[in-house]
């Protein structure tokens, strides 16, 4: 019985750290933000497509989805290339200043879910 309890405790702790190191855990979901403006830099690559966007008051780093998900959902490279207009709704990072992860983006008149 104690062996099982120990095993459960160990796995629960491991699972906790796994959630913390990646995914949506290090973003402030209680304070969503919308970044809208022109794409300044565009890295359409894995593990995540990453843009910098000229927002109203500052430049944001915008983290999107892996390239296979982007392509599958119709968010192609040329739609988020340098100079494109984008509106990204998501959550600011709790670790990196001026970085946010997008729930969804609107480009070329289309709204595409990232999650």
């Amino acid at each position: 019985m104690t062996r099982i309890a120990l095993a459960i405790a160990a796995i629960a702790m491991l699972a906790g750290t796994a959630v913390a190191h990646h995914g949506w855990g290090s973003y402030d979901a209680k304070n969503p933000v919308t970044v809208a403006g022109k794409v300044l830099t565009s890295k359409y690559e894995n593990p995540h497509v990453t843009l910098t966007v000229q927002g109203k008051d500052k430049v944001w780093t915008v983290t999107l989805a892996p390239t296979s998900r982007m392509v599958n959902r119709g968010a192609l490279a040329e739609m988020v290339k340098v100079g494109a207009d984008i509106s990204a709704f998501g959550y600011p990072s709790t670790r990196e200043a001026d970085e946010m992860r997008a729930e969804r983006i609107t480009v070329d008149g289309k709204t595409i879910e990232m999650r």
């Binding site: 099982i4 796995i11 894995n46 892996p66 296979s68 998900r69 879910e113």
Partner: protein
């Protein structure tokens, strides 16, 4: 790219190989899935070694080993489901609509059915045999289905993020 990291790591990430991995649509997802599936199988082998070393897994007849392993697998499956439920609740509206996730649930249903029906049947039959009598053919079929289905479930779970 974190320029504050040791130079050799920056060079590794910035190499042609690093760029090729990032820019390929399929390499990173494929490596992710392969990594997780390999870990699942690897973990099984390591846990077995360690449980033998701890004296938890002791030599026993085929039927006894199967019965003990079956009990462990059911308890561990409960933990997988509980932790999975936590993950699911956080993003339920998105994950439920994801085709890969739906396929994964379908395969889990088949795998559980296989274990409950074919697996139980195999174990019941084996309990009536001595350790030297040959295994029935249906035991191999239950095992092949189980291996195939569960490894696919693990792969699909990781692949959800890439579709």
């Amino acid at each position: 790219m974190d320029a504050s990291a040791p130079q050799w790591l920056v060079a590794l990430e910035g190499s042609g190989l690093g760029a090729a991995i990032r820019q390929s649509v399929w390499i990173y997802p494929a490596a992710n899935v392969a990594h997780v599936v390999a870990i699942a199988a690897f973990a099984g082998s390591v846990v077995l070694i360690d449980l033998i070393l701890l004296g938890v897994v002791r030599p026993a007849g085929r039927a006894t080993l199967l019965q003990r392993a079956r009990r462990w697998s059911m308890g561990l499956f409960a933990m997988v489901v509980l932790s999975g439920l936590v993950l699911f609740i956080a993003e339920a509206s998105h994950v439920a609509l994801n085709r890969v996730f739906q396929l994964k649930l379908g395969l889990i249903a088949l795998a559980v059915l296989n274990a409950l029906v074919l697996g139980s049947r195999a174990e019941t039959a084996i309990a009536k045999l001595t350790d030297t009598e040959p295994l029935p053919a249906h035991a191999s079929r239950a095992a092949a289905a189980s291996l195939c289905l569960w490894l696919c479930v693990v792969a699909l779970g990781r692949f959800i993020a890439y579709v």
